[in-house]
Symmetry: D3
Subunit: 328 residues, 6 copies
C-alpha cells in the first residue's frame, strides 16, 4: 500500500469561495531542522461544475505562466465561475524561487518526475501529490511552459496527438480556443515521467504552451498568456463570457529531423530569427571556436524546410545542446 | 616608475599582413602553477595609416561584438586596409569563456577597472595593458556592448557628449556612419574606471553600442553589428568602399528620471516592450510578490515620457536592480 | 536475499573488556579512490547481561550526546558493568565532523533513513548496519538529541506513547530514571524512517532526549546528559550503583496546534523565552520584514495555552520554518 | 582630493518628520548589470538639537540591535524627539540579509573596514559613507553588537577607556543610563579599522554593547536592548521622558590573560556557564578529540580569577579560536 | 519489461569501415533545457570475426587508457582488422572532461554502477547501455585503469580468478599477451556493481590494467599501454601481426593483509617506493600530525612481506584512506 | 610609519633550547568571530652563532620540504647546534592544510606576496612578518619547493645568478653542499614579489629546491631533502658533523626557449620522461582533442636541445599552461 503524501494543504478543495493558501511539504535540512516547502495555491469554487487545474513554473525559469496565474488568482471572483479552478502558479516552487529550470534542492526536473514518490525527493513528493491528489480532481489540466533560460520559442499553445481520438479532439479544441499566434500538434518521442502523460493517462484534457523563453517574459507574450487562459476557461464553461478568438497558425514537427544538436563547443550564431523561413540544406546556424581568431566556424545545415520554431538561447553552446528546431 | 606589464603579445603590431595570436598573461593558481590567460588578438596591417582598436566582450556575456569581430578577424584582408586594425574580440576573455559579465577569476568588471594596475588582479592587468600599450596606438576606438544576461536594449550606437566639441563631433559622425536603428548621445554620470573615459582622456575618437541583450544575439542584431563596424572603418578611411548608410533615430537620456530602480524583490512584469511609447505617470512595470497568491503587485510609474530604451531582463528582480530606462 | 553490509567493525562485540575501534565503511570518491568512513565505536562488556546501545549525533549538530558518550567511553570500566554497553558517540559521523544536521556526503538525515540500504547512500548504509547488526543485539536503545543549530529546546528526556503498553511502561520508567528537568510523552505524527521506529518495532526499550540546542552545549545541559545516561544504565542493571533521582516535570504535546510554522520570511522575534507560560491567543512571536524600515511586523498568536517548549533558533526565519512549540 | 561617495540617500537629513528610505549603492555584478545594494535608513527629526546615529548589524549575525532599531524606526514619532535620530538598523546590510558576520559580497568585516574607500569594496564604500557623511552629523553614536553565531556574551553595555577623560566620562555616563545587567570599560588592544575608533577620533560620544550571541536573540535580551536605547536617547535629551535606571555590575578586562585561544581542533566543552565564577588554575574548558574514542581531552585552565564573560559558541572548535573570556 | 535505453548512437555497429561518432544521452539541466551528454565512440569493422570492446576512463582521472585508445581510434584501419573493434576511450565521459574519478553530474562511480538503470542517473544510464547494448556484442572486453589522482600503482595487466577455469585461462592468456612489466591474478572481495563482473557474468573474456596513477601519465606507461592493447588484439586474431612479447612478473594479493588503511589524518610519508621489497613488521609508512611541531609521527607496519604494489598518492591523508598495498 | 604586524609568536627567538610554538595571526571570519591562523614554528638555539631560517610549503601542495622540516624540528637537539635554527615547516599554513598551492582564504600565492602588508590579506600579513621580523634575523635562508600538484621536476637544489658575486658564490657553495642529483643556476625573469628576492635584497644567502612534484613525495626525494638540509646546516657551521657530499649535475635555463606553453585545451601527452634527452625540433609533447575520436593531435616541438627538466603533471591541459621545460 502506498504511503500517504507528506504534503498537507491549508486550503479545503470542497469549500465555495476564494482561498489563498499553501501546500506544506515538511523538509528537514541543515538550515532548518523542522522546515517546510510552502507552495502557494489558490482555489476558487462556486458550486458543482467542472474542475480546471492550472499550473505554471513546472520549470522554474519560465514566466508567462506564473505572470498569468498569480494575476488570475488575485482577480478571479467566485461569481464568475461555475465549478472549481485550482491554481498552482509555481508548481516546482523551489525552482521558481531560484529562477532555475530544476529544483535547487534535488536538481529534480518536475516534468520528468511523474508519477513521483511519497518518500522520494522534494520534487518527487510534489509530483506524487499532483498524481494522487490534484490530477484526479481535474477535468481540464492546463500547464504553462516557455523556453526557460536556455531556449526561445515561437509563442504557441499545444496538445498531443493521442491514441484516444475523442480525448485528442477535446484537447485540440481547447488549443484552438486559447488563440495563440501558433498552435502545435505534438508527438512525444520520449514521454516517460512527464506531467502531460500522467494527466493524459487518466483521460484528462491536457493542454500546454511554449510562449517565448530566455528566462524572461515580454509584455506581448504575457498578454497572450492571460487572454489564452481566460479563453480556455470560457471554452470549458468554467468562466462566464465568450471566447475571444484570434487567428492561429497550426504547426507540426513531423520527425527527428526537426531537431539539430551541437557537436562542438563554442559561440553560437543563429542565421535566422524565430518565425523566419528555413529551407533544407541552408546554413541555419554556426558555431565559432573562441580560443583563437582566424579559424573557420562550423556550419550547420537544416535537414528539412519549414520555419524556425525554437532556438538555443545563450551566446555560448556546448556539445549536445539542441541548437534549433524547425517546424512545418 | 610604473612596473612593466606582465602581458606579452605573440603578435608584432608593426608588421604588415594578418597575424592571429595571443596576449599572454601569466596567472599562477591552484590548478596550474605556471598557467596563463591567453587572450586572442588579431592584427591586420597594411602600411602607414590610422589605427583602429576594436573590442568585444568588455563584459563577457554580450555577444554581438564577438560575433562581429571573430568574423572580421577571419575575413579581413590586408589589401582591403590602409593602416592598422587591431581586433581583440573578447577583451575580458576569462569572463567571455564563462559567459558572465565579470571575470570568474576576480569578479572584475572590466569597464570599472581602468586605468588598471600591472600588479593588480587579472582584470586590472588587462586594463593596464590596454591603457599603456594598446590605447596609445589607436586613433579610433570602438567597443561593442549589449545588455548582457540581465538587461535588454534597443539597438543603438553611441558616443559621449564631451567637453572637447571637435572630439565629440568626430565621434558622433562615426556613430552616424555605423547606421544602427537608433543612435544615442550619452551623458555619463559616473565615468570613473571606464574604458570609454580612458580613451577619451587620451583624445581618441571613442564609439560604443548597445545592441540587444539577455545574454544572447539575434540574427538581426548581428547583421547590424557587422554592417556597422564595416561602415565605421570605411568612414575612417581604413577599410576601402563606401559607407552603407541607413536611417537612424537619435535618442537622449536627459536626466536621472530616465532610470527606475526596484524597491522590492519579486517577479518582474514589464508593461511595455522595447521601443514602445511611454508617458509620464503610466504604470510601466509591476513587481509581483511570489510567496503567496492574492496580494497586489507593486506598480511602478514612469517619471517621464519617451520610449522604452532598456529593461531588466530576467523574470525575477531584486531590490536595487534597474527595472527600466526611458529615453527621448 | 539482502546483500551483506559493506561495513566491517574493528571491534568484537562478544569479547569481554574495553575496545575502542571503528565501523569501517568503504567510500570511493574523487579525493580518495579507496577511501572509507571510519565511525568511532566503543564496546565495554563484562559477561552475560543486557545490552545497551547508546548513540549521539544522529543529527550531526547536537552536542550533549557526544559530550556525554565520548566521556562515558573514556571512563567506563568493565568492572562497573554487567552485560554490554555499545557506544557510538557520533552515529552520523560525517555530519558530526561537519557540524551539520545532515551528512555533507549525501545530505542524508539519519533519522529519516531507516531501515537503510546496504547498497544505498553512505547514510543509508550506516542505517542498514544499525538496523541489521546493532539493534538486534540491544535490549535498551538510548539516542541523544538536542535542537541542533536551528532549534532550541527545554531539556527533556522522552519516549513514545506506544500500542504495546508494557513496552511503553518500560520506556517511561527509564525516562523517569534519567531525571531531566522535564520529561515528555511523545506522539509521533510521521514516524516513517525514524531510528526510534526501527527500534520500537523490534520491541526494544527506546528512549531519547532533547537537551537544548542552537548547535552548542552548556555546562548545565552536559551535566544533565551525563547524570541521566548513568542513571538509565543503573536503572537497567547494567551499571552498578543507585539511580540519582531528581524531580522532573512531565509534558505533553497533545495536537498539531502545538506547532506554529512561519508564513513569511524575515527577522524572527520570540516574545517568550523557553519555559515561560504562554496562553491561547497571545502574540508569541513576530516576523519583521527587513527590506525597509517602517512596516508593521507580522504577529503570530498561540493556538493553545501551555509553556514554550521549543523555538526557532537563528535570527532570520524562512517561510515554512517551525517557529515555536507549545507543550502542556 | 578624495572621490565622492557612490552612495546616494533617498532621505533628506535636514527635513523634519519621519522618513523611511535607502542608502543606494550601485553594485554591478553577474546577476544584475545595473544593480544596487539598498540599505534601509530612517531619519526622525524635530527641529534643532543633538543628533544620534544608531546602528545595528555592523556584524550581520547579531540580532538584538536590529530588533531594537527596526522597532524604534517604526514607532518613534517626531513629537517625542528634540533634534535628530538617524537609524541604520542593518549597517552591513548584505551580511545581515545573509545572516553572516561578514559581507557575502566581499567577506568584509565592517568593523575592520574604517575609514573605508569610495572606490573600494562594497563594505569599504559603506564604511566611507559613514566616515565622511554620517559620523560628522552625529553627537552621539550608538552601535549595537552581540556575539554573533560563534560567540556568546553576558549582556553588557560598554565604552572605551579614552585619553580624553571628558569624552570618556560622557560615554560612561551614557553606558550607565543604558542600564544593562553588566557594564564594561573596554581597553582595545588593536583598534585599527574599527567604527568605534573612527567615531572616537572625531570626538563623538561612542557607546556599544554585547547582548548575547549564538546568532539568535532572546526575549529578555531584546527587552534590555529596547529599554537601553530609549534610556540613552532620554539621557541625551533627544527623547522625552526619564531614564528607567536599573542596577548594573561594572566589569573590566585588565590584560591579555582574559582571553584563551584553542591550540587543538575538536569538540568544545565549557566547564562553566556565562556569569559563573572562575578562579585561576581551574579547568574552564576541555577539547575532545573526535576521531576515536578513549583518548583524554585537552584541559584548559583559567589564567586569572573572575567571571565567565564570553565563550566560544559552536560545538566544534578549531585551533586559534577564542575559547573563553574571563572578566573581573 | 525494462524501459529502452535513452541513449542513441550515431554510429552503425554493423557497417564495415571506420566510423567516428557519439553515444548521445539526453540530459536536461539548468544550463541546457534540451542538452545531451555526447560520448565519443569509434567503430572499426571488417567483415565477420570476433568483437573487442575497448574502454578507457571508466574512472575519469586515469589517462593511459584514453591516450592509447584515442590514438588507436585515429590510426586503426579496417584493412588491419578481422572482425570489429569498438572503442569508447572515455566511458565516463563527464568525469573524464572534469578530470575526476566520478561524474561531476551525479558523483557516480562507473565501476560501482552496473548493471545500471535506463531511468537512473547519467552514470547509471551509461552503465545500462553497456550492460544491454555493448557487452552482448563483445567477445573480448578490455577496460583500462590506472590509479587516478589519489593512488599510484606498479604497471600491471590483470584478470580475475574465476569459477569457470576455461574462461579464466583465456583471460590470463590475454594478460600474458599484453606484456606489462607486472601481471596480476585478482581476487575481488566486493565485486558488486563492477563492470568486470557484468562482463564476466556474461562469459566474456575480461581484462583490465593498473598502469601508474597520480592523475597523470608518463611516456613510458603510455608506451606500455599502446603496445599492450595491440598485443591483445593480435592475440585475439582481430589485429594482424604477431604479439610483441616481453617478460612479465606475476603478482598475487592473497588476503586482506595486503591493504593498510589510515587511522589518523595528517601528512603521509611512504618509507618505500613502488616495486621496492617490504617485509612483515617493517615501518612502511608514517603519518605526521601537522598542527604543531615536535610530536611523534604515527608509524604503520607491514602486515606481510612482498613488494609495494600501490600507494596513496597525495601528500595529505585522511582517516580511512588506503595507504599502501603489498603484493607477492 | 608602518603599522606593527598583527602576528604574535608564542616562542622567544632569543631563548636557548628547543621551543615548539605558533605564530598567531588573528583572523575574524563568519565561522569564528575571534579566530586566528596558528602557524607552527620551532626554534632551536644554542648560544651565539649564525641563524638559519628554514621554510617549507611556501606553496601548500609541495611536500618534500614539510616532510624534512617537521622531522628536523622533532629531532634536532640544541647540543648539535651552534647558533639558531628557525623552522617554519609550512609557511603558507592555510594552503598547506588545504593541500593547495595558494591560500584557500585569499587565493594568495605566498611567493608573489612579498614584501607583504600588515593590514593586507592573511597571506600578505604572513609575508610581512617574514619580511620585517624573521628575514632580518637570518644569515642563511633555505626555502624548499617542489612542483606541486600541477608540475613535476627533476630533483635539484638551486640559487640565483646575482649581481653581487660574493653573495652568489656563497649561495652556490651551499647548493653544492646540499648534494641533490641536479643543481641549478637560476635566472629569474620576473622576480617581483618573490621571497627569494626579499631575502637576496637584504644580502642573505638564499637557497631553494625543486624536488619532484605532482602533489606527492617519494621515499627517495624525501631522503634527498633530509640529507640535503643537514648538509647545508653543516656547511654553514650550524650543525656539527661533516657534509655528506654526492655528485651533482649542474643545469642552466639560458633563455625563454626553455619554456613551452599550451595553445590548445585537451589531453596532454609527454613524449619524453623527466631527465631524458631532448633535441631541437623533436616532438616533445602532444595535445589530444577529447570531444571526438579521429582528429589529429597538436604536436609541440622542442625549441632547443637539452634534457627534460620539468613537465605539466595532470592528464588534462588548458591553453596557457606551461607544458615542459628544457634545461641544459
Amino acid at each position: 500500500m502506498p504511503k500517504p503524501s507528506p504534503i498537507s494543504p491549508t486550503v479545503d478543495f470542497d469549500r465555495d469561495g476564494v482561498q489563498h493558501g499553501f501546500l506544506r511539504l515538511p523538509y528537514s535540512r541543515d538550515d532548518s531542522a523542522w522546515g517546510s516547502v510552502m507552495i502557494p495555491i489558490c482555489v476558487v469554487r462556486n458550486g458543482e461544475g467542472p474542475t480546471a487545474l492550472l499550473t505554471g513554473a513546472n520549470h522554474g525559469d519560465e514566466y508567462e505562466g506564473p505572470l498569468a496565474l498569480y494575476e488570475l488568482a488575485r482577480t478571479l471572483e467566485p461569481g464568475q465561475v461555475s465549478g472549481t479552478v485550482i491554481i498552482v502558479p509555481a508548481m516546482n516552487y523551489p525552482a521558481f524561487r531560484a529562477g532555475t529550470r530544476t529544483s535547487p534542492i534535488d536538481k529534480g526536473n518536475m516534468n520528468r518526475s511523474f508519477p513521483g514518490r511519497p518518500d522520494g525527493t522534494v520534487t518527487e513528493k510534489i509530483a506524487d501529490y499532483f498524481q494522487r491528489e490534484l490530477l484526479p480532481r481535474a477535468d481540464l489540466v492546463f500547464d504553462f511552459h516557455s523556453g526557460g533560460r536556455t531556449l526561445d520559442f515561437l509563442p504557441y499553445c499545444a496538445a498531443h496527438i493521442l491514441p484516444d481520438k475523442a480525448q485528442e479532439a477535446k484537447a485540440f479544441a481547447a488549443v484552438e480556443a486559447f488563440s495563440a499566434p501558433y498552435s502545435m500538434k505534438m508527438r512525444e518521442i520520449d514521454a516517460v515521467g512527464m506531467y502531460d502523460t500522467a494527466a493524459e493517462e487518466m483521460g484528462k484534457v491536457f493542454i500546454t504552451t511554449e510562449l517565448g523563453g530566455g528566462g524572461t517574459a515580454r509584455a506581448e507574450t504575457v498578454r497572450i498568456a492571460r487572454r489564452g487562459i481566460a479563453n480556455v476557461l470560457r471554452h470549458a464553461g468554467i468562466l462566464d463570457g465568450a471566447v475571444e478568438k484570434t487567428p492561429t497558425r497550426w504547426l507540426d514537427m513531423p520527425s527527428g529531423d526537426c531537431f539539430i544538436f551541437a557537436e562542438e563547443d563554442g559561440m553560437f550564431e543563429t542565421m535566422a530569427d524565430l518565425g523566419e523561413d528555413v529551407h533544407e540544406g541552408m546554413v541555419i546556424a554556426r558555431i565559432h571556436s573562441i580560443g583563437r581568431t582566424g579559424g573557420p566556424p562550423q556550419e550547420i545545415r537544416a535537414k528539412m524546410s519549414g520555419l524556425l520554431a525554437a532556438r538555443h538561447f545563450p551566446g555560448l553552446i556546448k556539445t549536445g545542446d539542441c541548437m534549433c528546431v524547425v517546424a512545418r
